[in-house]
Symmetry: C2
Subunit: 655 residues, 2 copies
């Protein structure tokens, strides 16, 4: 079935519909309530929407609209300025953008206030994007008639018939709620609160009126950390956070070692899954205790994470993620009851795991796209989320593409001799005097240095390059006579801090030649991915309207230095913006908004995954990007003057 | 919403539809496939059905039919003989039978062979009723394209897109099946069998072609026994049986003591539930081992049982079943995954628990109605299912009513001094010489008597009455001088067998005055229930066209003697029929047929429950029925002559 996407403004809600669907039906699907006095017959003219773009994907003036113009309910002027009757206009076109993707046509509409049915709901703030609180979980307080011998209707049927009076028809009930039903109804004399998921399933029954207590949890399971955001579902507000280091680290530092652990150990998957579930339960405990919320009051959980974490959390065999062609077990989002996953919240709570895009592009990337809205705004945006792996996104409302760069966890300090995570004592800021090579640094919490973290490494490489310590091929220049440049066990290194400055036991803190190579490999992979996607899109640096840096690394790095090392294309600094934990924010949006959850599925389905390793230009782009900032300095015009006057500028990379 | 019922013959499938539904839509809902070349426009004339009864509940001749008569595609003669165009005729009427019920109008149709789409399915035998095998579980063997780097579609999406080619769209998958997916697909090189429930949910994936191995289990959880019928879902045939005494007996002999156990013991419900689940798992083990079926090859389970067993099996608090107004937790049927109930079959198997009717009328009664078809046939039928409790049903296609008689387990031998279940050594047949009072008896397996079971008790009471040992009020006649009539510890009794005839340790085996009272109370409750229902229906004995006796007791009793004690109204013997374990057969029908399962819901919803204790006539009817056979002998004309010549006939009951 051919499909197209429809975006409703200013709600910023997107939906995917089959061709031939009317705009009124599309609005209904997107949860946008529109006046339709005549019941969709095209006679009342109440359902007018304004077409912002994509008019070519809609029917021309319809019989109903032309009739309404004749009888004065509508005018040619309004029609010309984009007003349409939602009930009579159907979506028709479906042009593809990439030949190897399924991205089709789109329509963007504004819903004028006068066409809206009923009152506006509460708005809540996300990452500068407004998301209307419209959770899947609702509570209803009702008082029921008591049974008698003459009318001994069973408890459930008694309840559903009362709820039907509130417009809730055909309700199912989960087994756990059924077990609570008889006592819950009688505790407060047949006055009870029903917790209903997705307007169709009773997930809990509580004695008395508990409507005001309704909470949810958005979870970001990273390779390194697990973060849980506790949210009041009545207004969408964040009320508590819990986080821990991902306890799987004890079973494997990175994704591949954890997958290997699962393959090589009988019950390995069970064990690694239990560790992650126990960890999440600790996060829940922490968030609840801070916010004085009972675990039983959490009625829904949303989860994002990279595809490997996604599989381990769901106890899905991750083996084939590690073997070419790196196929995930599934793509779509999933709903599983908390009690079946061992998550200690209300046992009837639904756990919604957001969809993944590919083996190396997970639900966390879907979360970034969901919370930043890149995929439905006109500005062509390049985004990166660099954590234990690096994902690169490029696109806008017309088309969205994503790839995974095998950048590894170098920017988290892994594989570096004295690298560390962004914890107290990590060097996070560095500047180097080009004349004396004296180093100025700042550490987290101003403690004596224990190591160097991601933002510090970016600064170190950029500053070493500008000071001439590093050549454009990334060699430490051994010709410079300075005590900071030295060989230890035949390895060249540059000393950032002397033993008397560093924390006890650390000794001299240095960046080695090997460390520089790790960073070169990582940054080259990310830049190459971005550049190949730009070429596929026929986009040059000037066409990139925004660069979004997601994740903790993207939050703390110096954007100028990141460009100097060539981490991303040469785009003016005012277009580059850190967007924080956009993945976690996406999980929160999917938690509080039914529409955003639907959007996540659309994002996963319509975002084109590019497998970099089989892209024909990849090898060349990757090697060219190993240089600082790049072998072709014309790609970085803003850095050209600075770079070309560096003494070792003419050096060439030895393969 | 007003509804009506539509029955399709000869399939014998019933469905409930909203008024205004076309017969073609009704057929679709009932799973009956009908030709409709023109797509329901009323022009092809392929969808003709024959109206057998209920024509007044349908539209008159439609525009489409009249047009077809004009153009020769149809004829007035066919129309007059009941042929109608299914697509153009709508259901319209909805008349109620009982003012206190929701039973509405009905239509009975025959589907001629020429109107059927595609081939007939296999027919299997139930209780003389043919049920078409059309289970909810289906298996599909498919071969899928392997993934590649260029097309690394995730496993699930790869599978669902292949299955879509077989017409299976929008499939969900349960978590357990998802866990099996990646390895199952790769074990036989991407050739796998998908097990799909209800055309919408993947519940298991097996490597290679396993289509021929597809089994289900129908379970009858009685107060006393648990029976499991293992069925081949490919053809609906019974292939094995497992059964045990309900192990809950150790926690309470009858329903009320078990409920009391739950109320009085912390974790009592958990414990009693575990006992029943463990018991069912033993039954499964036995049936599977006999039939050489793996437990994992059982993909669906259906369950019937009285409302108390139903609640205990589902771990629902049974407390309120024992307190007026005896309200069950729910009425509707339920679907729960086997793994969530602890039932050891395929973990993805659905366990369908059939609906109940009321606190004392359970899913077992629904099973009886389902397998006997009483509710959709024209003959007015009285049915009883006497086990640990007694349920009485009266009705036909027009209306169905049911009540529960507080008959207790007297007919299972409980509360009798030397009563026992129908086990080896139980006296099951008795005749008494009216002159000498000599007793002839037969025992199960011809062993020396250990006690007396239900059918033996009915014989004993009837024969004692006819021999003058019992008066019409049930007194043992102490005036008769015979060594068999004696007082032991001041209690009158009649000796059936002397100590030297009985099993070791039993001693003399006698029926006491107290035993006779127990039977009088039980039979009076059942007769009174039947009679009150007949009066509500304005039906007399001559109007009863059939009497069905369900259950083991109904199977073994002497029908003449049952009438002599006044167990059921005076209906000619040729109309009385034992129908075996009709409840269990109902579970089997619901297991093998999607249509029958839908029918069970309709039965539960439309069968009127009559609460005997608040029926105004109950007390009088009950007391009158304490007599043998009844105080008003005119109610038993066929016994009148025999009874009136009995010496003590004029005796009156002392209250």
């Amino acid at each position: 079935m051919e499909k197209a996407i429809v975006v409703f403004q200013p709600d910023n809600v997107i939906t995917e519909v089959e061709l031939g669907t009317s705009l009124l039906e599309a609005a209904k699907k997107a949860g946008i309530k529109i006046e339709s006095l005549c019941g969709g017959k095209g006679t009342c003219g109440k359902c007018k929407l304004i077409v912002d773009s994509g008019a070519e994907n809609l029917d021309g003036p319809t019989y109903e609209e032309l009739s309404a113009i004749k009888n004065g309910k509508f005018s040619q002027k309004l029609l010309d300025s984009g007003y349409r009757f939602a009930c009579s206009v159907k979506v028709k076109n479906n042009k593809k953008f990439f030949s190897d993707s399924s991205i089709g046509g789109h329509v963007i509409l504004t819903v004028p206030a006068e066409s809206r049915l009923g009152a506006q709901k509460i708005l809540v703030e996300g990452f500068e994007k407004r998301v209307r609180a419209d959770p899947l979980v609702n509570k209803y307080f009702v008082e029921m008639p008591k049974p008698s011998l003459a009318k001994a209707t069973p408890d459930l049927e008694r309840a559903t018939s009362t709820l039907k009076g509130l417009g809730l028809g055909d309700l199912e009930i989960i087994h756990d709620a059924l077990k609570k039903l008889p006592d819950s109804l009688r505790t407060r004399d047949w006055k009870s609160t029903f917790v209903i998921w997705d307007d169709r399933e009773i997930i809990s029954i509580e004695p008395g009126d508990t409507v005001k207590r309704k909470f949810g949890l958005a979870v970001d399971i990273g390779t390194t950390t697990i973060v849980g955001y506790l949210v009041d579902l009545n207004n969408g507000k964040l009320i508590g956070i819990g986080s821990i280091l991902n306890p799987q680290i004890s079973l494997g530092e990175d994704v591949i070692t954890r997958i290997t652990y699962c393959i090589q150990n009988a019950k390995g998957l069970d064990k690694i899954n239990k560790v992650i579930v126990d960890g999440l339960n600790e996060v829940i405990e922490e968030a609840c205790s801070k916010a004085k919320v009972k675990k039983d009051e959490i009625y829904e959980v949303t989860v994002v994470g990279n595809t490997a974490m996604h599989h381990l959390f769901l106890k899905l065999n991750p083996k084939f993620l590690a073997l070419s062609p790196f196929t995930p077990v599934l793509k779509r989002g999933l709903d599983i009851k908390a009690c079946n996953l061992g998550i200690k919240v209300n046992p009837g709570a639904n756990v919604h795991i957001l969809p993944v895009i590919a083996g190396f592009v997970g639900a966390d990337t879907v979360g970034v796209l969901l919370s930043t809205n890149i995929y439905k705004e006109p500005e062509l945006t390049l985004a990166t989320d660099i954590g234990t792996n690096g994902e690169i996104m490029l696109g806008n409302k017309d088309a969205m593409e994503v790839c995974s760069a095998a950048a590894g966890p170098a920017f988290e300090g892994a594989h570096l001799k004295q690298g560390m995570r962004g914890e107290p004592g990590a060097i996070e800021k560095i500047s180097i005097d080009a004349n004396t090579l004296d180093v100025n640094y700042g550490t987290i919490d101003d403690l004596p240095p224990r190591g160097i973290c991601g933002s510090g490494i970016v600064d170190a490489i950029a500053e070493m390059f500008l000071a001439g310590v590093l050549t454009r091929t990334g060699n430490i220049n051994a010709d410079i006579k300075n005590q900071r440049i030295r060989r230890t066990k035949n390895v060249l290194e540059f000393v950032l801090a002397w033993a008397d400055e560093t924390a006890k036991g650390v000794g001299d803190l240095a960046i080695t030649q090997g460390d520089v190579r790790e960073i070169q490999l990582a940054k080259a992979a990310i830049y190459a991915g971005a550049k190949i996607m730009m070429k596929r899109r026929h986009a040059e640096e000037k066409d990139i309207e925004r660069v979004y840096l997601a994740g903790a690394f993207g939050n703390y790095i110096d954007k100028v230095n990141a460009k100097i090392i060539g981490l991303y294309p040469d785009v003016p600094g005012d277009k580059v913006k850190s967007v924080g934990n956009a993945a976690g924010m996406g999980a929160k949006h999917a938690l509080i908004s039914r529409g955003k959850r639907e959007e996540a599925e659309i994002i996963a389905k319509r975002t084109n995954y590019l497998e970099l390793t089989i892209a024909p230009q990849f090898k060349d782009e990757f090697i060219a990007a190993m240089y600082l900032p790049h072998s072709k300095i014309e790609r970085f015009p803003s850095l050209r003057k600075t770079c070309e006057k560096l003494p070792s500028w003419s050096e060439l990379l030895k393969n």
